[in-house]
Amino acid sequence: MNLRPLTSDARSRSFDARRKAWRGAALLEVAVAVPIVLVALGMFVQMFLMGSGLRGSGRDSWAASGAAQTLLEEMRNEDFGDICRLYNADPFDDPAGPGTSPGNRFAVPGLPPLEGMVGEIVLPITNSGTEVVPVWELREDVEQAALGMPRDLNGDILVDALDHSEDYTLLPVELRLRWRGVHGPREFSLYTVFAELR
C-alpha cells in the first residue's frame, strides 16, 4: 500500500473539491426556494382565512334571512289594513300618530350596514307629490317587476292610477337587506304577497 503523504497542492485541491461539494445553496437557488416556500405558506394561510371567511359569510346570510323572516311574521301579526301605513316611508300616516310606526327601514343586529340601516321594506308605493311635500300612494300602475307590478291590488279586476292604501286586498312586499360582508358588499332579498282572506 502506497501511503505517500499529500503534497500541499494535492491537499489544497482536495479541500477545494470538498468545499465545492459542501458549498450549500447558491444565491440563485435560495432566491428560487424562498418565493416557492412563501407562496406555499401564503396559500396555506389563505386557505384557513377563506374557511373562516366562508363561515362568517354563512352566518351573516343566516342572520339576514332570519331577520327578514321574523319581520315578515311581525308584519303578518298586524291588522291587514294597517300594514301599508305602518311600514311605508311616510311617518305622517302612522295609525297611532305621526312617527309611531316602525317605517320602511330596519336594523339587523350583527350586520354592519353599507349606509343608513341594513334593511329596507319595499312596497308598490310612489310619490305623487314633490320632494319637499311628498304624497305617498299605494298604486297598481307602478313599474316594479320584482313585486309583480303593475297588478290589481283591490280585487276590482282593473289596474288604475288611484291610491289604494285604504282598500288593498293584496300587498306585494320585498324585504331588501344590504350589509358589509367579510368579502365585500352583500345583498339579500325576500319577496312575498300578503293577502286578506275574505
Binding site: 479541500f15 468545499r19 459542501w22 373562516s52 352566518r59 343566516w62 311574521e73 311581525e74 303578518r76 301579526n77
Partner: protein, 207 residues
C-alpha cells in the same frame, strides 16, 4: 517541519457559539410554531363546536316555529305577554272542518324540562297517555345573559326568562332558545337563537 496555520476550513464544523445560536434559534422557532399550531387547533375546535351548536339550535328553533305556526291562536296556553314569558307552551291544531264544526287535534305542547336540560314536544301533556319526543338537550337553564334575580339582565324586555322562552303578542309568538355545551377542555360554548312566528290556524271556519 513547517506548521500549517490553523485556519477555518469547510471541514472544521461548527463552533460552540454557532451551535448554541442555532439551537436557541431552532428552539424559538419550534416554540412559536407549536404555539401557533396549538392556538389554531384550539380556535378550529372552538369554531367547530360553535357551528355544531348553532346548527342544532337553528334546527330545533325551526321545528318549534313550525309547530307553533300550525297552532290555533285561541288555544295557546298560557297566554303570556312581555315582560313575562313561559317555557311551557300548549296548543291545539285545527285539523279541518266537518259538518261546519272545527276538528281539533289532541293537545300538544313544547316545553323545557330543566332537570334534563331538554326541550321536548308532547302529545296530551299531563295526561296518562302523554307521549313525549325530545327535540334537543343542552338547553341552558336561563337565556344567555339572564340571571334569576327578578330583573331584565340581558336587556330583551323579559324577566328571568328560561333557556327556552315563549312570549305571546296578539297572534304571534316570540321563541328564544339558548343552548350551551362544555367542551373537553372545559370551555363553554353558548348559542342563542330567536324568531317570531304568527299562528296561521284560523280560530273559526272561514265564512
Amino acid at each position: 517541519m513547517r506548521r500549517v496555520p490553523r485556519s477555518r476550513s469547510p471541514r472544521s464544523g461548527l463552533t460552540l457559539i454557532e451551535l448554541m445560536l442555532a439551537v436557541v434559534l431552532l428552539a424559538i422557532v419550534f416554540a412559536k410554531a407549536h404555539e401557533a399550531l396549538t392556538s389554531a387547533s384550539k380556535s378550529s375546535g372552538r369554531e367547530t363546536r360553535e357551528m355544531v351548536l348553532e346548527d342544532q339550535a337553528r334546527r330545533v328553533l325551526r321545528q318549534i316555529a313550525y309547530a307553533v305556526m300550525g297552532a290555533n291562536r285561541e288555544t295557546l296556553i298560557p297566554d303570556t305577554e312581555a315582560p313575562l314569558s313561559t317555557e311551557d307552551l300548549r296548543f291545539q291544531v285545527n285539523l279541518g272542518i266537518q259538518d261546519g264544526e272545527v276538528i281539533w287535534s289532541d293537545p300538544e305542547g313544547v316545553s323545557l324540562e330543566e332537570t334534563a336540560a331538554a326541550v321536548f314536544w308532547s302529545q296530551n301533556p299531563g295526561a296518562v297517555d302523554e307521549q313525549r319526543v325530545v327535540w334537543t338537550k343542552l338547553v341552558a337553564p336561563y337565556l344567555a345573559g339572564e340571571l334569576p334575580n327578578g330583573m331584565d339582565d340581558n336587556g330583551n324586555g323579559l324577566i328571568d326568562e328560561k333557556g327556552l322562552s315563549f312570549v305571546v303578542d296578539r297572534n304571534s309568538v316570540k321563541i328564544s332558545l339558548t343552548l350551551e355545551r362544555v367542551g373537553d377542555d372545559g370551555e363553554r360554548t353558548v348559542n342563542t337563537v330567536s324568531t317570531t312566528v304568527t299562528c296561521r290556524n284560523l280560530p273559526e271556519p272561514a265564512k
